[in-house]
């Protein structure tokens, strides 16, 4: 009798808590992420290091575009993770946002360069067209189309929860 009573108490409360456990697992919600597909806007902007112009056709295939600036504190926190990503072979293009050339170059020499290419967007023209509201933001583009957009710092968790699924789905970068 008492054994049954005990078992009943335990299993009833276990079921109650398990019920809520189910919902914690399911609801992983990232307000900064959006997966609307749109065309990469047309642009013509200078390279950070030289006057050479970069245009849409210079970016072919799949890339990450990371919006950053030397005045942005969160970018500094994010930076080490980008360096790690690029060492894993993820091609990242930097979009230097509303920043002085000299400051930006100093910053890169100080903290390391994970970028394949850095676009210097002094006026924030391209950023405006892409719907950037601040730095840092990161886009995933494939063949001239934006397929994912994340507002805020990219880190291990964001990478595995927001970017990895879509990369796997689209079979990009030849990473497993």
């Amino acid at each position: 009798m008492t054994v049954f009573f005990r078992l009943f108490l335990l299993s009833a409360s276990l079921m109650f808590f398990y019920f809520f456990y189910l919902y914690i697992e399911e609801d992983k919600y990232y307000p900064g992420a959006s997966f609307q597909t749109s065309n990469m806007p047309l642009f013509e902007l200078e390279d950070l290091y030289s006057d050479k112009l970069i245009i849409n056709t210079d970016i072919e295939g799949a890339h990450l575009i990371n919006v950053w600036a030397s005045w942005c504190i969160t970018c500094r926190i994010e930076h080490s993770y980008l360096v790690k990503l690029s060492s894993q072979g993820i091609p990242i293009i930097g979009l230097n946002y509303k920043d002085e050339r000299r400051d930006a170059i100093n910053w890169i020499t100080k903290f390391g360069d994970p970028y394949k290419l850095i676009i210097h967007d002094l006026q924030g023209e391209l950023a405006l067209d892409m719907g950037v509201t601040g730095a840092p933001e990161t886009f995933l583009i494939n063949n001239g189309k934006i397929i994912a957009h994340y507002r805020g710092e990219v880190n291990e968790m964001i990478w595995s929860d927001v970017f990895s699924p879509i990369i796997k789905q689209e079979n990009l970068f030849n990473v497993n």
Binding site: F5, L9, S13, F17, F20, Y21, I24, E25, D27, I73
Partner: protein
């Protein structure tokens, strides 16, 4: 630098609290030296932790934006008062405050209860382990001590504007004081179960603490409801929001608990109820924290969240509840009293009351869980709203009122003869029928439920007024604070019913210098001005209102836009009088230049706050009177 000191102190306190728990489990707690050791360790760890919090408050006052949390929730432009209250404006800081209060209750208990009390050491042990559980939660999953280094931002991101309100600054602290206050009842109950000696009257010691905690909980809920009334601009006082529900559940359990306590502290009757309720109250309080902070339910109160937090809290609460229930099942036999509950005694009425409250708690829990179950099965999001809760709460509350009405004359452990020719009963039934009839005939109250509620409320009020009469003029002994609290209940039921029946609203479409008439009130839109506030700019409208008796007054509703977050808020304008509030909010401007203005007449709303205040004050005085006798 200071922030690291604060963090270190918190970690140290966590270790010491854990030590307290270890002492209370492995050492002989009947040894005076051990009790002293536990008591002293507890106060030391409390002071370390308190010091850590004070450092944090100091950093917030001095705009130390190298602390991430302060940078995200405060701003140099804020007055000092809001700089402090910004600490509990989001998840990490409010958790910090929650734990401070948890350990504060333990510290006051530790300080004021004599070391000879048989359950003290074990209770402190239980309180300590609960505190440790929450401290680990704070430090591991929601660290408020995180810093932005090397370069802190120039200015902070500001507190959410709807929280920049004196009432809301004190709403969370009072509510938290209520929630965690039941840790003492919980600690004592668990200590009693561990001890397993049925001769110890743990209920008597716990009454004082529980009634104080109950008063704070009631106050916290009332303040929240008042704030929602004037700040959100919807004109209601209760929205059956999931988070209001998770505050209501511990309140219902706590109310049943303090009633049950008064029965078991006189004789050990109803002990099973009392023990279970004490576990229920505390776990429902913690469960509320889980619901708010795990983000599984969408609500105006939800904090930004991540799944780890929810998981930790759920595991912690689950462990606590299951350990308690297991312990309860092992000590089941000692809880039975050899006395039987005599029917129609006060104890029997209190058991019925427990059943009513149990039903209400169960239904509320069902309402909270139902959308989740529905989503699970049909993959659609739905919400359970007022109709469901009204359908359950109204009849049960009225039924409970009728039982309360008959139980007033009942005695402890003896049968009470209900004679329907008993004078006070007859008189109050006649008075209530008369009041109900009058309001039906002359005040156009016609909804059946309103009339029934009015009748039930008047029954209680008139019956208790007769009790007060007997107390004052016939020197009959009654517990006057309990009488006043129940009077508050009667008044609350009447005010809610009348508010529901009489209140009305209308959206006006009005231009400057135009006049509209609504229910014999002439409403003139006289002016519109732009105003610059310290951290916002606003549109302020001037309305001149003339009521039926010719009295003229002005109301100035506003719409504010806050600079830092760009958020837009509506500031209501309220003209309060004895019976009704005239409540104005402005909406958007239309293309033709006219404004949408919402006018509401909210009847008896002040009476709702007044009844709640009556209950709170009676609760505090009741606790004070108990304190004189027992401690």
């Amino acid at each position: 630098m200071l922030i690291e000191v604060a963090q270190f102190l918190s970690i140290l306190a966590t270790g010491l609290f854990f030590l307290c728990f270890v002492f209370s489990i492995f050492f002989n707690v009947n040894d005076v030296n051990i009790i002293n050791l536990i008591s002293r360790t507890y106060s030391h760890s409390f002071f370390l932790f308190l010091f850590s919090f004070l450092i944090y408050v100091w950093l917030a006052i001095n705009d130390n934006f190298s602390v991430l949390y302060i940078a995200q929730h405060s701003n140099t432009n804020l007055p000092v008062f809001y700089k402090i209250s910004s600490i509990w404006s989001a998840h990490e800081g409010s958790m910090f405050l929650w734990i401070i209060f948890l350990s504060l209750w333990g510290a006051i208990y530790n300080f004021s209860v004599d070391n000879n009390e048989p359950l003290k050491a074990r209770s402190i042990g239980v309180i300590s382990i609960t505190t440790v559980g929450f401290l680990l939660f704070l430090l591991l999953t929601s660290n408020p001590f995180e810093t932005i280094l090397p370069v802190p931002p120039e200015n902070g991101a500001d507190i959410n504007p709807v929280l920049q309100d004196p009432l809301l600054a004190i709403h969370p602290p009072t509510l938290y004081l209520g929630y965690v206050g039941f840790v003492i009842a919980f600690g004592q109950a668990i200590a009693f179960l561990i001890e397993g000696n049925s001769d110890i009257n743990w209920e008597k010691q716990v009454r004082f603490w529980s009634i104080i905690a109950w008063s704070f909980l009631t106050l916290g809920i009332t303040l929240g409801s008042w704030w929602a009334y004037y700040e959100l601009g919807w004109g209601g006082y209760w929205f059956w929001d999931p988070v209001e529900n998770v505050a209501l559940m511990p309140w219902l359990a706590a109310t049943a608990f303090i009633h049950s306590l008064s029965a078991s502290s006189k004789s050990s009757i109803l002990r099973v109820w009392t023990i279970l309720l004490s576990i229920l109250v505390f776990s429902l309080s913690l469960f509320g924290a889980f619901i708010v902070r795990s983000g599984i339910i969408d609500s105006v109160h939800s904090f930004a969240n991540d799944p780890e937090r929810g998981l930790y809290l759920l595991a912690f609460i689950g462990l606590l509840v299951m350990m308690s229930l297991l312990l309860f099942s092992y000590r089941f036999t000692i809880l039975f009293s050899n006395k039987r509950i005599i029917s129609l005694s006060k104890e029997s009425f209190i058991s019925i009351n427990n059943i009513f409250f149990g039903t209400l708690i169960f239904s509320t829990m069902l309402g909270v869980m139902y959308p989740l179950i529905y989503e699970f099965i049909y993959d659609q999001k739905i919400s359970v709203g007022a109709p469901f809760y009204n359908a359950i709460f109204v009849p049960i509350t009225i039924l409970a009122c009728l039982f309360l009405f008959f139980s007033i004359e009942s005695k402890w452990q003896s049968k009470f003869k209900i004679s329907f020719l008993n004078n006070p009963l007859i008189i109050s039934v006649i008075i209530s029928l008369f009041i109900t009839f009058l309001s039906f005939k002359f005040y156009s109250v016609s909804k059946a439920w309103t009339l029934v509620s009015l009748f039930a409320g008047s029954l209680i009020i008139s019956r208790y007024i007769l009790v007060i009469y007997a107390y004052l003029f016939k020197r009959k002994f009654v517990n006057i604070y309990s009488v006043l609290a129940h009077l508050g209940l009667g008044l609350l039921i009447i005010s809610i019913a009348l508010n529901n029946d009489f209140s009305s609203e209308r959206a006006l479409n009005i231009r400057i210098n135009e006049t509209e008439t609504y229910k014999n009130h002439e409403i003139t839109f006289s002016n519109l001005q732009l105003i610059e506030g310290p951290n916002y700019e606003s549109v302020k409208a001037d309305f001149i209102i003339e009521n039926e008796s010719g009295t003229i007054f002005s109301l100035n509703p506003e719409k504010r836009k806050y600079f830092v977050r760009g958020q837009i808020t509506t500031e209501t304008a309220i003209h309060a009088s004895f019976l009704k509030d005239i409540y104005l909010t402005i909406g958007d401007q239309l293309d033709d230049g006219s404004w949408i203005v919402n006018v509401q007449f909210n009847y008896f709303i002040r009476w709702i706050w007044f009844s709640a205040t009556l209950m709170i004050i009676s609760g505090l005085f009741l606790a004070r009177s108990l304190n004189r006798v027992h401690l």
